[in-house]
């Protein structure tokens, strides 16, 4: 049957199923194909709360949300146009987010009596009229896959495992995409298992052909390429961009990379990625705990390497004491915190921005540490690169803040070439000078020189005890302590002179409301502010990347607006800092549900404050 082709500017699809259904893979493939086609994309994987939840249960639902379009895409989308549900539980969890008149694609095999019971349905939602206002496409994916592979010689388990390819092929037809990229992927993935390779490709094509010949739907969709900025693109996830940014900083600074860390969700993928790149001289060390991880980094940094560690809130808590040591030693090192819901173990697979105050103040004594945050998956690259640059050029630990949302999300990245990256120049003292080496003598930026073991004549001792100005010898002198505390504080403040001024990222330059945001809320705030400006409201958006120190002009920007509102996935942490530092009566919009803001939530808050 020939089908009509409808143009769409943007589409949001949610793929949902059991964690064993290959949902993340399906979503990633569909994303890559669309990205390669030229769409702008933004994704958000929603992992099951419990990794080992029983099959078919609500706790075991894995989701992958993709927003793609011919227009600029800044968020993974609030609600979805299409929901692909592999079973009843997956349907139940995601159905509330399906737009009116949206489309559901259901695997009917996942709605049998057992599935319905596991999802707490007395009556199947397919039969009770819940779907009356929606377009519902029902396919027995299991049966179709089994028929396709009847002669494959594969066992039932292996056959069923390729069901996701049927769905993927179906959607490729529906959205007018070709199968090439996924076929290439399958060939590589199963290069050593030709039977699985052939089976997966066969099922993928079967899904495509089924969509073509069956009468399950009448129109196909066409989402044209987006008008992205000129250049070369690839799709990238946040943690991957973080890893690449760190390697880039190592290469540009000429410092070998030492990465010490202890596995924790959602930071582990940085370790996995870095461990692949040993040919860049990268040394990754899986330590026995987070304390050992950061301490190994301190050792490496003392040895003259780019020392990096990453963790999430609980692990960062363990690193606190060593961070203080890094601060008083004044050695360069990078600490990445991929934030998740807290306190304690909290919500390991869910996102939150609630470790800002921990990054800012979470140490004993006066121990200021610069903080840089990332605003989107691809922005992790630039942000972490900047964090490394500050660490190395200012001889200080630096905290890089990411979160679960951008760490696992993905988007197209207009990647740079090596020569376009800012230089990073370590302050290494190469040889003994005329005068004795003073480890804590400083330049005009208050930065000391880094003397590395192995350099003759520069032997020296450093430590966690308060040190005498310049010589670094242990000192308990009261005036000296006051002086050293002030110097360390001033050194961090001076970093503000070498970072860019704060821009107004979107909307008006002065007016009624400034939305001040940081971290992963960038996309949603940008979308909301643009919408408000289109509606004629005088709203501006400033997104702060450098959280300590702030850009020198941030205070002035705050004064240009009548009201400042600060949306955060916490109980008001940037809010506290801004109110404290600038004495402005900023207002918070605070959400702690483990999921990102929706555009409407931000727009509603802006409008509410406009009324005040």
């Amino acid at each position: 049957m020939s089908k009509v082709v409808e143009e769409k500017k943007e589409v949001t699809i949610v793929f949902a199923g059991d964690s064993g259904d290959g949902i993340q893979l399906t979503g990633t493939q569909f994303t890559n194909t669309n990205a390669l086609f030229g769409n702008d994309v933004s994704t958000f994987p929603n992992f099951p709360a419990e990794i080992r939840a029983p099959q078919g249960t609500l706790a075991g639902v894995s989701g992958f949300q993709l927003h793609f379009g011919s227009v600029e895409i800044s968020t993974p989308g609030d609600n979805c146009d299409v929901l692909v549900a592999m079973n009843a539980a997956a349907f139940k969890v995601n159905f509330p987010r399906l737009k009116k008149n949206g489309t559901v694609i259901l695997n009917t095999d996942g709605f049998n009596a057992r599935n319905l019971k596991l999802a707490d349905y007395d009556v199947s939602p397919i039969e009770d009229g819940s779907l009356n206002d929606f377009r519902c496409i029902q396919i027995d994916v299991s049966k179709m896959t089994r028929i396709t592979l009847v002669d494959s010689g594969l066992g039932k388990k292996e056959v069923d495992r390729s069901r996701n390819m049927f769905v993927l092929g179906f959607l490729y037809y529906m959205y007018n995409r070709n199968l090439t990229a996924t076929e290439e992927f399958i060939k590589e993935k199963f290069s050593k298992q030709p039977d699985l390779r052939d089976a997966n490709i066969k099922v993928l094509k079967a899904g495509y052909n089924f969509a073509d010949t069956s009468e399950t739907f009448t129109s196909r969709y066409n989402v044209k390429a987006a008008q992205l900025k000129k250049g070369k693109y690839r799709n990238i996830m946040g943690n991957q961009a973080t890893a690449l940014g760190i390697i880039a900083a190592s290469q540009k600074s000429g410092l070998d990379l030492f990465y010490g860390s202890y596995p924790i969700t959602p930071a582990s993928d940085i370790l996995h990625e870095l461990a692949k790149h040993k040919n860049f001289g990268v040394k990754t060390f899986q330590a026995e705990d987070e304390i050992a991880a950061i301490c190994s980094v301190i050792g490496a940094s003392f040895g003259g390497k780019l020392g990096v560690t990453a963790s999430s809130g609980p692990g960062i808590a363990l690193k606190g004491e060593a961070l203080g040591l890094g601060t008083i030693l004044e050695l360069p090192m990078l600490i990445c915190n991929v934030q998740r819901g807290g306190p304690s173990t909290g919500l390991p697979t869910k996102t939150e921005q609630s470790d800002l105050l921990q990054a800012m103040y979470g140490r004993n004594g006066e121990a200021p540490i610069p903080i840089v945050s990332a605003s989107s998956p691809s922005d992790c690259f630039n942000a972490v690169y900047e964090a490394c640059r500050i660490a190395v050029e200012h001889m200080t630990p630096v905290i890089f803040l990411s979160d679960g949302y951008i760490a696992n999300g993905s988007e197209p990245w207009n990647f740079p070439t090596k020569d376009k990256l800012k230089p990073i120049i370590p302050k290494i003292k190469k040889e003994k000078g005329q005068e004795a080496y003073l480890p804590y003598k400083r330049d005009e930026k208050l930065v000391r020189e880094w003397a590395l073991p192995g350099t003759s004549g520069l032997e020296h001792r450093i430590g966690g005890l308060e040190k005498e100005n310049e010589t670094g010898n242990v000192s308990y002198d009261p005036d000296n302590h006051q002086l050293m505390v002030e110097i360390r504080e001033e050194k961090v403040k001076k970093i503000a002179d070498s970072i860019p001024l704060q821009p107004i990222n979107n909307g008006v330059e002065d007016g009624d409301v400034l939305v001040l945001s940081w971290g992963s809320t960038y996309g949603v705030v940008k979308t909301a502010v643009k919408q408000c400006v289109e509606d004629g409201l005088k709203v501006g958006h400033a997104h702060v990347r450098y959280l300590n120190p702030f850009p020198n002009n941030l205070g002035d920007i705050l004064k240009d607006f009548k009201t400042v509102i600060i949306p955060e996935m916490n109980r008001g942490q940037l809010l506290k800092i801004v109110r404290d530092k600038y004495l402005v009566d900023a207002k918070g919009i605070n959400k702690v549900k483990g999921i990102p803001f929706t555009t409407d939530e931000i727009i509603d808050a802006i409008k509410l404050h406009l009324k005040d």
């Binding site: 992205l228 010490g260 190994s296 050792g299 040895g303 430590g463």
Partner: protein, 339 residues
């Protein structure tokens, strides 16, 4: 730079005042360490001392090498990172019984199993010196201290047994009051390629004076100290009149008037099973029929070092994939162009 290698012990002293209590055992250890440094055959700038926190951990300030006085219990972890990233350096960890075995216990065992080529000097004074006299994980049961006014109810660690349990490749014991032995053991430890653990009995004359007196006092030491020498029978006693013999798997004290030296336990540094038995010579010296306390090298073994394997994995990766090219890494394999 060959001419620089002719050092004397003095070359390793710094201009800082040494601040241990007068009479502290740490002085003797500092002296012996400084005295063996010229024999390492390493340039001064290639030597690094890393310590945690405690009286003993003040040590690096007094060594004119590279050094770091870090945080409580973590010197082992810091040294691990340094050794992985700079395998060519001669790295020395200075730690106390509290530092290494209490707060830093986890890092110690993990460092040991990885077998980095570095040296650990564990200053065991069976007390928390710096915090003014609380019992430590090596204090004996019943020990009366400020925090245990009616006696400790903690069962103590046997440090060398713990280390051997973590698959240590070199364990030895020596004491502050025997400089000659100390020197010998320090040199042996420094030559071992792998993590060498040297436990040093160190007298804290302020908070735990005399903890090891039976092993150092002229009147008792000959009967209480068993000096281990590779290839030699286990003989001790004032007149070298006693020996250890294995009866089944039971170490037994015998009189050399009755048993010939040839029938004694012959010490073999490379025998792990016997080393385990030797670490169990840990009796309370006040108990009747106790075994003497061994000093010397209990065990040594050659096993691969973490940092060497790390280097070879990197070399292999470079051979296989070529030296990393940043531009190729950034572009990845799925690129599209927007014109």
């Amino acid at each position: 730079m060959a001419e620089q290698l002719v050092y004397t012990a003095k070359d390793f002293a710094t201009d800082q005042d040494v601040r241990w209590c007068p009479g502290c055992g740490d002085y003797s250890i500092l002296k012996q360490v400084q005295s063996i440094m010229p024999e390492l055959g390493r340039s001064k700038e290639d030597i690094v001392f890393i310590s945690g926190i405690g009286c003993s951990s003040r040590f690096p300030y007094y060594m004119d090498t590279y050094g770091m006085h870090s945080i409580h219990g973590r010197a082992t972890a810091i040294a691990s990172g340094l050794k992985i990233s700079r395998p060519e350096l001669s790295v020395w960890v200075i730690t106390g019984d509290g530092d290494a075995l209490s707060i830093g216990g986890n890092h110690l065992i993990h460092m040991i199993r990885r077998n980095f080529d570095l040296n650990v000097l564990l200053f065991n004074n069976e007390i928390y010196g710096l915090t003014k006299g609380q019992y430590s994980p090596t204090s004996p049961e019943g020990k009366i201290t400020k925090s245990t006014p009616v006696g400790s109810i903690d069962h103590p660690f046997n440090p060398l047994k713990l280390c051997l349990g973590a698959d240590s490749t070199f364990i030895a014991r020596t004491m502050d009051r025997d400089p000659k032995h100390q020197r010998e053991i320090l040199l042996k430890g420094s030559k071992h390629i792998g993590t060498s653990i040297i436990e040093i009995y160190q007298n804290c004359n302020v908070f735990n004076d005399g903890a090891f007196e039976v092993y150092t006092d002229k009147a008792t030491k000959d009967d209480e100290v068993l000096m281990l020498e590779h290839g030699q029978p286990l003989v001790f006693g004032k007149e070298d009149d006693k020996g250890i013999r294995l009866v089944g798997s039971e170490p037994t004290v015998v009189s050399l008037n009755e048993v010939s030296k040839n029938d004694l336990w012959i010490h073999n540094e490379h025998d792990k099973f016997k080393a385990q038995l030797l670490t169990s010579f840990f009796d309370d010296p006040s108990v009747e029929g106790h075994l003497p306390r061994p000093f010397g090298v209990f065990y040594s073994e050659d096993r691969f070092r973490y940092e060497e394997l790390m280097e070879s994995q990197i070399k292999e990766a470079v051979e296989k994939k070529g030296v990393g090219n940043l531009d190729l890494l950034l572009s990845g394999s799925n690129v599209w162009e927007v014109a």
